[in-house]
């Protein structure tokens, strides 16, 4: 099977719950039991209060487009999605930021604005790997 994207590699042990959650269409975040803050990327200690008491919680999948770029040529190795495509930094409702792509949008700087509301879309690559992509939030679907 030809994939348009490199599979995440190497998957590290501390990130397994994240990748397992995505497979079940749940965006999971590590959260600190001591200070209560969610963070990303997964690690075994809280980057805010340095506690080792970490649990996993499901994120809403909603957030905002913190910053973006539009690739007009292939930029990443083994990444063959046809340009132009939108590279996105998402700020999740729960606070953490993550890199992704903004899809289902015109790849045009006039159509994309920082801080626009976005929502997660699960993109299955293989039986094992599903990626969190994001699209402009649907006005009716947000709920708050």
């Amino acid at each position: 099977m030809d994939l348009e994207r490199p599979l995440p590699h190497p998957i590290t042990p501390e990130a397994r719950p994240y990748w397992e959650g995505l497979r079940e269409h749940r965006l999971m975040l590590p959260r600190c039991l001591d200070c209560g803050r969610a963070f990303f990327y997964p690690r075994i200690a809280c980057p805010y209060c340095h506690s080792r008491q970490i649990v996993w919680t499901q994120a809403s999948g909603r957030g905002r487009l913190h910053a973006f770029e539009i690739a007009y040529q292939p930029m990443g190795r083994a990444f063959t999605v046809k340009p132009p495509y939108v590279l996105a930094m998402i700020e999740l409702e729960e606070g953490p930021r993550m890199m992704s792509n903004l899809i289902n949008v015109e790849p045009d700087p006039r159509a994309i604005r920082c801080d626009m509301p976005v929502e997660v879309v699960f993109e299955r690559l293989t039986d094992e790997i599903t990626l969190p992509l994001f699209q402009p939030a649907r006005p009716a679907g947000g709920g708050r």
Partner: protein, 381 residues
């Protein structure tokens, strides 16, 4: 901290024999050319060198071996392109305490031709969280900082373009610069789109080059071949590696911390600075560095370039070698701003010489404003 101010001097600087596209030279050869040239510039012999500082793929141990010397002090700190600027601080501390007597900081990178280069690096975080989305290469990261800045401050593509224009104007005066045709803002805006918000003229060159800097204690510096350049203030810091972890995309905490310490150690203010070298991997970098250093208010760093202050004849010349944008950028550019600042302070720069330079500010980033090093250099105490 004050004890380190003016404790050591830069006494030798040079590039490799040539810089540019060099498919006939290995990365290691670029190192050796730069080191031998810089040691000769200082009027010293290779046998005098007993401290080796280098970042990148070759360890300081390998460099010592290849040069045929046995260093008694080595440092391989590798936090991105500013590592060499940070190493000036490390070298001054080591010299001050007598851990070595002659320190060489060396850079060699076959960034364009890839001769003698190993592709191995740690990818456990970017491989999981960035590569599957098409990230790869510096433009796909620094563009995030840039679009966020445009959103928060209303900065425009036309404004960023003026950084390229100003820097090219300096490159036109530097015989070693790779690009020496004048350009206009319209040229930048019409150049090939690569990754919004960057067209190709917003992005640094990719070259093969080496550079080296030699330092010794201030007392010994008087006996060297060239006028000594004093390291009056210095600072370093790191904030993040993964760009998602940066506290505020539009303000570099590492840059702020490194700059505040360098100015405090030097005992000078922003107004005292005559000449500035900033790490320009992208046109948006130098303005954001000026803001993070406190030389400009947030959102206003680009005014230095728009208003002609940074250009030849301007009130605060910036990136007088032509920068990573137009002179050379092998990958880890940080050695070259030190070389240019030293040459300016020695008065060796010919057509691009800034008149009456006494204090030069060097600031560089590692990664995406992730790490930072700042130096205040002077030609007197």
């Amino acid at each position: 901290m004050k004890a380190l101010s003016n404790a050591a001097c830069i006494v030798g600087v040079d590039e490799s024999d040539e810089i540019g596209t060099l498919p006939h030279k290995s990365q290691l050869s670029l190192h050796l050319e730069a080191v031998t040239n810089a040691v000769r510039d200082a009027g010293l012999r290779m046998a005098d060198v007993d401290g080796i500082f280098t970042a990148g793929q070759h360890s300081p141990a390998l460099l010592g071996e290849a040069l045929g010397i046995t260093p008694r002090y080595v440092d391989g700190t590798s936090v991105g392109g500013c590592s060499f600027i940070i190493m000036v601080e490390h070298a001054v501390a080591a010299l001050h305490h007598g851990l070595c007597d002659v320190a060489v900081i060396s850079h060699g990178e076959s960034g364009r031709s890839g001769v003698g280069v190993s592709p191995r690096r740690d990818l456990s975080l970017s491989g999981q969280y960035e590569a599957p989305f098409g990230f790869g290469g510096a433009p796909t990261y620094f563009g995030m900082i840039t679009t966020r800045h445009m959103h928060e401050y209303g900065t425009t593509l036309e404004q960023w373009a003026q950084v390229a224009v100003s820097t090219r104007a300096w490159a036109c005066l530097n015989p070693k610069a790779a690009r020496r045709e004048p350009i206009t803002g319209a040229d930048v805006l019409a150049s090939r789109p690569v990754c919004y918000p960057f067209n190709v003229l917003n992005i640094c060159l990719v070259t093969d080059a080496g550079g080296a800097v030699v330092l010794t204690r201030a007392d010994r510096a008087q006996d060297c071949a060239r006028p000594p350049v004093y390291v009056r203030g210095m600072g370093e810091a790191t904030e993040h590696v993964m760009l998602t972890q940066m506290k505020r995309l539009t303000f570099s905490e590492a840059t702020r911390i490194s700059g505040a310490r360098a100015f405090a150690m030097a005992g000078v203010t922003h107004e005292d600075i005559d000449h500035v070298m900033l790490y320009d991997a992208f046109t948006s970098g130098p303005p954001i560095m000026l803001e993070s250093l406190g030389l400009a208010r947030p959102g206003e760093g680009v005014h230095f370039f728009e208003e002609g202050r940074s250009t030849p004849g301007g009130s605060l010349p910036i990136n007088t070698n032509g920068g990573g944008l137009s002179y050379t950028h092998s990958g880890m550019y940080g050695i070259f701003p030190i070389i240019e600042a030293t040459r300016q302070l020695r008065g060796e720069c010919g057509a691009r010489q800034v008149p009456d330079v006494r204090l030069s500010l060097v600031n560089g980033m590692g990664g995406m404003l992730s790490a930072a090093g700042t130096l205040v250099l002077s030609n007197d105490r």
